[in-house]
């Protein structure tokens, strides 16, 4: 049968079929070994043939009623598209970019939300402190018994001191690290971030509540004259950990705010936009929590001196601040 006897769409197909077959093999090769490891000629052909195939698809949709051909071209073009537009970034470069510029700039961009996080925690602390001084019974209202670890208005000053300067911890090293990482504060940080999506309220309340706990706890120790000792005990990891909670809360509030006040975008688009920074805040908070757990697991019980505890805790805090304020500036 001569070619001219074929109907138009069959001729169209016959002319291009060899190219499609070649594209098919190239695509399967690219999917197997990856675009980076393909030969230059093959990669070049892949891109060119992909462009041709998209054109073929567009034409075939207009001129052909052959369902099999349309399905094939659709699938082939999709496969080629997916392998041509595969992510090309390198992992090492990504990690470096995140720490050098991505994270600090995201923190700086969302300073308002982080400030809200710190404000919630601060106000909570103040409220807890005042409430405890007014009536120590409040302590039992806020503090879950398993978190207090037996410390409360009824315990003696000596017992409280014992907890702060404990020479024989129950666990140390890796075990303690893991335990602390999954302790109360990490859970709070995850909750305040995750719950922020639900219109901010849970995130703000939880951060406030955490501050309340802290305030009441601190007031208990101040009343016994152990304020500065507790300050040291808390600072060594707390500066990092509480800041991490506030940052996570900032991320959560940012997500919630995007849903509450999407501005000119649709809610979905606003959420997506806010997610870009919020996820970086979450990663920073996770990193800070890991560092805090490291310090807590290894450092808190090793360093028994009050001033050294203050020094390490706030020194670390200063490092974070320097990273957030200065990181990525040179790139601008």
């Amino acid at each position: 049968m001569a070619e001219s006897d074929l109907i138009r769409s069959a001729r169209f197909r016959k002319k291009r079929e060899a190219d499609w077959r070649r594209l098919e093999t190239l695509v399967s090769q690219a999917e197997r070994v990856g675009l980076q490891r393909m030969e230059f000629a093959a990669a070049r052909d892949l891109a060119a043939l992909y462009k041709n195939a998209t054109t073929s698809l567009a034409i075939a949709r207009e001129i052909s009623l052959d369902k099999a051909l349309l399905d094939y071209l659709e699938a082939l073009t999709a496969r080629a598209y997916l392998s041509v537009y595969a992510p090309q970034e390198r992992l090492g470069g990504l990690v470096r970019k995140f720490f050098v510029s991505g994270a600090p700039t995201a923190i700086r961009r969302s300073w308002l939300f982080i400030a809200i996080g710190f404000l919630c925690m601060g106000l909570g602390g103040l409220a807890g402190y005042q409430l405890f001084l007014e009536n120590p019974a409040w302590y039992h209202v806020f503090m879950p018994p398993e978190l207090a670890g037996g410390r409360g208005p009824t315990s003696t000053t000596e017992e409280l001191r014992q907890m702060i300067y404990d020479d024989e911890p129950s666990a140390s090293g890796l075990g303690a690290f893991a335990t602390y990482l999954f302790s109360h504060n990490t859970r709070i940080a995850i909750f305040v971030f995750g719950l922020g999506v639900f219109l901010c309220v849970p995130a703000i309340l939880l951060t406030f509540y955490n501050g309340l706990l802290l305030g009441a706890f601190y007031a208990l120790h101040v009343e016994r004259g152990l304020g500065s000792d507790l300050g040291g005990w808390l600072s060594i990891h707390g500066v990092t950990e509480l800041a991490a909670i506030c940052i996570a809360s900032g991320g959560g509030v940012q997500l919630g705010a995007a849903i509450l006040f999407p501005g000119k975008r649709s809610r979905r688009a606003a959420l997506r936009h806010a997610g870009r920074d919020a996820v970086k805040l979450a990663l920073v908070a996770a990193f800070m929590l890991a560092v805090a757990a490291l310090v807590e697991g290894f450092g808190r019980q090793l360093i028994q001196d009050k001033s050294a505890r203050y020094l390490i805790g706030w020194g670390l805090g200063l490092c974070w601040l320097a990273w957030f304020t200065l990181g990525g500036k040179a790139w601008k």
């Binding site: 049968m1 074929l6 109907i7 138009r8 769409s9 069959a10 197909r13 016959k14 079929e17 499609w20 077959r21 098919e24 462009k51 998209t54 698809l57 567009a58 207009e62 001129i63 052909s64 009623l65 052959d66 369902k67 099999a68 051909l69 399905d71 094939y72 659709e74 699938a75 082939l76 073009t77 999709a78 496969r79 598209y81 997916l82 537009y85 595969a86 992510p87 090309q88 970034e89 992992l91 990504l94 129950s170 666990a171 090293g173 890796l174 075990g175 303690a176 690290f177 893991a178 335990t179 990482l181 999954f182 995850i190 971030f193 995750g194 997506r272 870009r276 996820v279 979450a282 990663l283």
Partner: protein, 307 residues
């Protein structure tokens, strides 16, 4: 799995999502259902869990881990292996983890651009918040606190219900990252039916159709006929069962009646009649289409009048 896909091939998939690559030619890719995704997820969790247990046993044999903190270290290891696994696998294999490869599904970017690192990190971190976090809560909480257990359950259910309420079956993480999951299409080029009858040219020539006869049907009927003819080709030899013969006969009679084809078609020539009709019909419809007249089905005339 196979059965299900074939079924989708025959009917236009209702779940196909449009994706516009930078080239501007829209692609229609079938959105992956929740069942397949769950299966992929279970595979991945299994893989990471095994890796975490192996690492834990290694740590224990080295004497680093104490029995009292075993659970804490174990969950830390699981977490530390799981989170990077998803992100790195999806980055390296272009939106596929091992489980997704097994199930032949794939993450694609909603806007048709290539998948960004940000999107992959975001959707996998949100997976932690959506599923793993409440799941661990559910496991660690005891029956003593029914409120917290109920809360965790509601959380998981809420997370699982989100995909049911949007067309692209996106999780919350997918929504935020701007991605969705598709079935990887398999390109299979079937024979062109318009080229087939080359060896039966003599038989084909004997059927001629006039323009008014070809005006009866549209693209839908043509493609249904195509499917019928392809089913005859399958397995090399035509299917010869009694019911198939009856089907072919009724189809031929129906077409003859509809187009007013006077000559009787003998039993041996029925298939070649259908092929010839397919060829002529396709050529005719494609020609009409080139002139800007798309005939979707046999009711095209009625539609024209009403609009």
């Amino acid at each position: 799995m196979r059965l299900w896909r074939r079924k989708c091939d025959t009917t236009p998939p209702p779940s196909a999502a449009e994706l516009i690559p930078p080239e501007g030619v829209p692609l229609y890719l079938e959105v992956a259902g929740l069942g397949v995704r769950l299966a992929a997820q279970i595979t991945d969790v299994g893989i990471t869990l095994v890796a975490a247990i192996a690492a834990l046993i290694l740590l224990m044999s080295l004497g680093v881990a104490e029995p009292s903190t075993l659970i804490a270290i174990g969950s830390l290891l699981f977490f530390a292996i799981r989170v990077p696994y998803y992100v790195i696998a999806e980055l390296a294999w272009n939106g596929q983890t091992l489980g997704k490869r097994l199930m032949k599904i794939k993450v694609v970017s909603h806007d048709g651009k290539s998948l960004g690192t940000h999107a992959l990190v975001l959707r996998n971190l949100m997976k932690e918040a959506e599923i793993f976090l409440p799941a661990t809560l559910l496991l660690t909480l005891d029956a003593a606190s029914p409120v917290a257990t109920g809360l965790a359950l509601v959380w998981i259910l809420g997370g699982l219900l989100v995909p049911l309420f949007n067309r692209h079956r996106q999780r919350l993480g997918d929504l935020m990252a701007g991605t969705h999951v598709i079935h990887l299409p398999v390109p299979v080029l079937l024979m062109d039916l318009a080229q087939v009858p080359a060896k039966e040219t003599t038989a084909t020539e004997s059927f001629t159709f006039l323009t008014h006869q070809l005006d009866q049907y549209g693209a839908f009927e043509l493609q249904t006929l195509e499917m019928l003819l392809r089913a005859q080709e399958k397995g090399g030899s035509p299917v010869r069962s009694q019911s198939n013969k009856a089907t072919i006969e009724s189809v031929v009679e129906k077409i003859r009646q509809k187009i007013g084809y006077a000559n009787k078609v003998p039993e041996t020539e029925r298939l070649s009649f259908l092929r010839a009709f397919y060829n002529a019909q396709r050529e005719h419809l494609e020609k009409r289409q080139l002139f800007g007249e798309r005939r979707m089905d046999k009711h095209y005339a009625g539609n024209d009048n009403s609009s």
